[in-house]
Symmetry: C2
DNA sequence: AAGCGTTTGTGAACGCGCGCACAAAGTCGC
DNA sequence: GCGACTTTGTGCGCGCGTTCACAAACGCTT
């Protein structure tokens, strides 16, 4: 959404520009020159896709590719090539026409933009069923995140060591979180406590929250909240499944069988389906 | 009416919806034959919010409310009231002017639209760190889902009982999944195996997949895939956090991302922040 | 150096979703 | 029974995001 008024956002990112002799020092597109410093403002939709591009680039680099075309990278990331090029254009021009993008250089650049130059500190609050799984997840490190604290308020859980970290009481939160905005909090407490816990985290300086509890969190301006609601995801899938079931095969004959991937090409949904409700 | 600023959750993450849109996506206008009665075509953005409305309605019903105004329900769901009314209008008119909506009736109606009349069958594939947490999660049942099967291929895991269900080998998948499209599969296997496992599930009749593995899944038309990528969520938060850090005290009014509170909101952002990279 | 094929970057059209504002429709008070 | 008030439902304008299509830019070959 339009929410963020990206303020300046100049290319101040320390401009490491290591060895890469980009030759063209003239790719400073929006030369402000006059008037307001304005904001290149990367669109939200683009930001949401950058992680996918980064993942695809990591895979390509590991596979030995040195350059990729927008077509190939888009394929790997599961998007259209035009969309990918436009997305990258918001970050600046880092491709070479006629060749493509330098895998390593583009990876570095996107990682910089995502703040992944150094590892972000992550704290997990609520080490229950879900929090335990998250604490033991090894996939965060490779994406630029380091879990530096686990918190709970259950005496039976406090003190246990999970994933190499000791579970602490919430009172010690302030000691671990550090500077305001320097850590991301993952909320994995029961829904009825989520708001209260969130308030404490914000009071302690938290500016970024990933919420797993199925509740609407109220936070002051300046705090960023993203939610992951598994039940909602299932319900959205259920909605589509139900619609699919209600609308049987249309165009019985003329249906163009544009196969996607090696898989059964046969038309599905032979007849109406029914769901059962008993448990096995 | 002009009192409070529109409450408005972030919710930017609406359906990236990669892959191929279902063939029947939106071929409504040029109705070739006779006028088809069905398919008012609920917008995707609306579908993604229906679960939130349903949750809010459940809470209201439990609190004893018999009716709600669009304003109150929107507040509870964390959206704007105009948006909510427009969303509901896509489902048909079920409100009473001058009064509001009947809580129980609206809940029933939305639940019907989401196919929640009966409990959907859910199978979890990959009972590791994450799959274990999901299998033991009690929050699915109240949202209309019943876990009916757990699958893995690790002999050390097969046979174990988790959440009252025995973990089965993938070979038995076909016996449990039932009619094509009648169950939703939750993928919680390592990324490098996700595609292969997904192919097997689809071949066995699965039409809805919720993917936790950080990979792009290729599926044939007619199969609906939604992904939950925790690392990406963190990276998006990191992007905003970094931008916030780069933009010091500016205009707090329009700056922050999606404020929710309609009142005081004492934004601080005292000074620039820095991240540290060493682990504790 | 010039031509040729390739690929990027982007201008422009298009469609979707959002929020405003208001008339219609209903309730409540008298 | 009637007027005033409340709240829904929606028409409309607008901005964001996606897609198409193409000229400019680049490497490679001759
Ligand atoms: N488990 C899942 O697979 C799953 C799936 C989707 C959503 N969720 C949501 O994630 C959240 C956690 O789920 P769970 O299954 O891990 O629940 P859980 O009950 O197993 O764990 C919750 C943990 O939070 C701790 N806690 C409670 N109040 C606290 C407080 N005030 N401060 C600090 N810690 C506190 C508890 O001690 C417990 O350890 C819930 O909101 C749930 O709805 C879980
Ligand atoms: N644990 C988390 O908190 C977390 C967070 C984000 C994403 N993920 C993703 O979720 C997935 C699972 O994560 P995890 O931590 O549970 O991993 P895990 O290794 O703990 O569990 C994976 C399970 O899948 C099983 N498996 C492997 N190959 C299989 C196959 N071919 N068929 C059936 N089962 C198979 C394994 O036996 C194991 O039990 C991974 O893709 C991971 O990236 C996990």
């Amino acid at each position: 959404m339009p929410g963020l008024t990206a303020v300046d956002e100049d290319d101040v990112s320390s401009a490491p520009r290591d060895g890469a002799p980009t030759a063209d020092g003239a790719d400073r597109p929006p030369a402000p020159g006059t008037a307001v410093p304005e904001a290149p403002a990367v669109p939200e939709a683009t930001v949401a896709r950058l992680p996918q591009y980064l993942r695809a680039l990591s895979a390509l680099a590991e596979a030995g590719s040195r350059t990729v075309s927008s077509e190939a990278l888009a394929e790997a990331a599961g998007v259209g090539s035009a969309k990918l090029r436009k997305d990258l254009s918001h970050l600046g021009s880092y491709g070479t026409r006629g060749v493509g993008y330098d895998v390593e250089q583009l990876h570095r650049h996107i990682a910089d933009r995502l703040g992944q130059a150094a590892s972000w500190r992550v704290v997990i609050v609520g080490v229950g069923n879900l929090g335990h799984a998250l604490a033991g997840y090894s996939g965060f490190a490779s994406r630029g995140f380091t879990v530096v604290g686990l918190f709970d308020d259950d005496p039976a859980v406090i003190g246990r060591v999970v994933g190499g970290l000791r579970v602490r009481p919430l009172e010690e939160f302030g000691e671990v979180v550090g500077e305001p905005g320097s850590a991301i909090a993952v909320l994995a407490v029961p829904a009825r406590h989520a708001q209260a816990v969130c308030d404490r985290l914000v009071a302690a300086g938290t500016r970024s929250v990933l919420n797993f509890a199925p509740t609407v969190l109220r936070v002051p301006d300046g705090v960023d909240v993203r939610k992951v609601d598994l039940a909602s995801e299932l319900q959205i899938l259920a909605f589509h499944a139900q619609r699919r079931a209600a609308a049987p095969a249309h165009r019985p004959s003329a249906a163009g069988p544009r196969g996607a991937t090696g898989a059964p090409a046969g038309p599905l949904l032979p007849h109406a389906l029914h769901r059962v409700e008993e448990v096995v």
